[in-house]
């Protein structure tokens, strides 16, 4: 049999999926990362300074309302980070792209930090508003549960030596965990009606915060999204380099 027939040459994927190639992914992330760092820095700087110093105090909440510029974006990202991990896990299960599994792994610690920021700023906000640092309010409780899910996910990654086994098991956990996280959210809602204010951002204009607070908030959210992307890209790059090092060491050991 001749080895030159066309079928023996693996087809090179093009378009979006071609970034599943670790080397191509690394090159791409190295090109976009500087821009991402700068953009997220600018957005966060502008949004936070605008929000903290150039918006009026709320007539009921006073200056404490300004913690919204940290609280809402971090809470959004805490949930979206988990959602991104879910998508990445699904891609790993279906298409077996290593970069996808590593991106999920890289996103978890970022998500945890976002959850912690949301919980902490929530406590700082809640203290003057509700007179307590912590209340078993459904939203707060859900975030605490989400935090536990992140911890379990990261612990499972850390506990298993073989990277592919770890990727498989954490993906299954992420899928199952997502279902249970949603279930827990409803259960917790049922369990305690809570004192948390309604959504800060929604399509229903009546409930939304006033425009003066709204625009700097959008800038802050953009900043958090960008810095999340930058951190995940950066951390994924680190994970890829780790695996490259392992591969090179394995190759050297054979010679």
């Amino acid at each position: 049999m001749s080895m030159t027939d066309e079928t023996s040459i693996p087809k090179r994927p093009s378009g979006f999926w071609s970034y599943a190639n670790p080397v191509k992914f690394l090159g791409f992330s190295e090109r976009v990362l500087p821009a991402l760092w700068w953009l997220s820095g600018i957005c966060l700087g502008v949004g936070l300074i605008w929000g903290f110093f150039f918006t009026p105090d709320d007539f009921r909440q006073g200056s404490t309302v300004k913690i919204i510029y940290l609280h809402v974006p971090s809470a959004l990202m805490a949930i979206n980070a988990w959602f991104m991990m879910l998508v990445a896990s699904l891609i790993w299960i279906v298409r077996r792209h290593h970069v996808s599994a590593l991106a999920a792994k890289a996103a978890a610690p970022v998500g945890v930090v976002m959850t912690l920021i949301a919980l902490f700023t929530g406590a700082v906000w809640g203290q003057p508003m509700w007179g307590t640092w912590w209340a078993w309010d459904p939203r707060l409780t859900s975030f605490l549960i989400l935090f536990l899910f992140y911890l379990g996910y990261m612990a499972l990654w850390a506990a298993i030596d073989d990277p592919d086994t770890a990727a498989d098991l954490t993906s299954v956990l992420c899928l199952v965990g997502s279902v249970f996280a949603v279930l827990s959210r409803y259960a917790v809602n049922f369990w305690n009606q809570g004192l948390h204010q309604g959504a800060s951002l929604s399509l229903d204009k009546e409930e939304n915060v006033a425009d003066v607070f709204y625009f700097p908030l959008l800038v802050c959210i953009a900043g958090f999204v960008l810095i999340f992307l930058a951190l995940v890209l950066y951390r994924t790059g680190t994970e890829i380099r780790l695996r490259r090092t392992r591969a090179l060491q394995a190759r050297e050991a054979r010679v």
Binding site: P22, H98, P163, R244, A247, A250, R251, R254
Partner: protein
């Protein structure tokens, strides 16, 4: 771990796998038994024809010899455990708890398990570990009877069982790279 090897097994035939420690015999057997997917290549034999015996026998210390065999017979949808007990002369041990058996006796029980599966292809990984000379003879007899009844066996072993079997050395097929660390990491180079 192994690369480019291929072999077939006909009814009534036994094949002895040879190779130094760590050459991939266990991996090959586990792959053939369907416990792990092959990195490449194909296996032409139904998983439901293969009975696999590993280093550990899956015996429960708190069950008797007969109970252990009955359990596995039930799982494989078989009834008869007497043939297996007779083939490995386990009658005197029948009602002893498996935990009280010696290493060699446990091994005999583990091998007797193959007979109650009722499957034609046996895959045995180092079956003679901790067996004495008489027990090895019993084992070789059981294999011969199995082959005589149209079965087949693939045995990874270092000792001579006195079987009329082909020997297949896996050493030359050792893959150029160590797949345990390699295969998934190679993608990153």
């Amino acid at each position: 771990m192994l690369d480019g090897l291929s072999f077939g097994l006909a009814p009534g035939q036994a094949l002895i796998l040879r190779g130094p420690n760590g050459s991939g015999k266990t991996t090959l057997l586990r792959t053939l038994a369907g416990l792990q997917p092959p990195l490449s290549g194909e296996i032409i034999a139904g998983e439901d024809q293969i009975a696999y015996a590993a280093h550990s026998d899956g015996l429960k210390a708190m069950l008797t010899v007969a109970e252990n065999l009955t359990f596995w017979a039930d799982v494989f949808g078989q009834r008869d455990i007497e043939t297996a007990i007779a083939a490995f002369s386990l009658e005197p041990l029948r009602d002893r708890l498996a935990g009280t058996l010696s290493a060699g006796q446990k091994r005999r029980l583990g091998l007797a398990r193959m007979l109650v599966t009722g499957r034609p292809i046996w895959m045995l990984d180092e079956p003679t570990v901790s067996l004495d000379v008489d027990a090895v003879a019993l084992f070789a007899g059981a294999i011969r009877a199995h082959l005589g009844a149209g079965g087949a066996a693939l045995i990874a072993t270092h000792i001579d069982l006195g079987l009329d079997a082909e020997v297949f050395d896996v050493a030359p097929f050792r893959a150029a790279h160590d797949a345990r660390v390699g295969a998934s990491d190679e993608a990153f180079l």
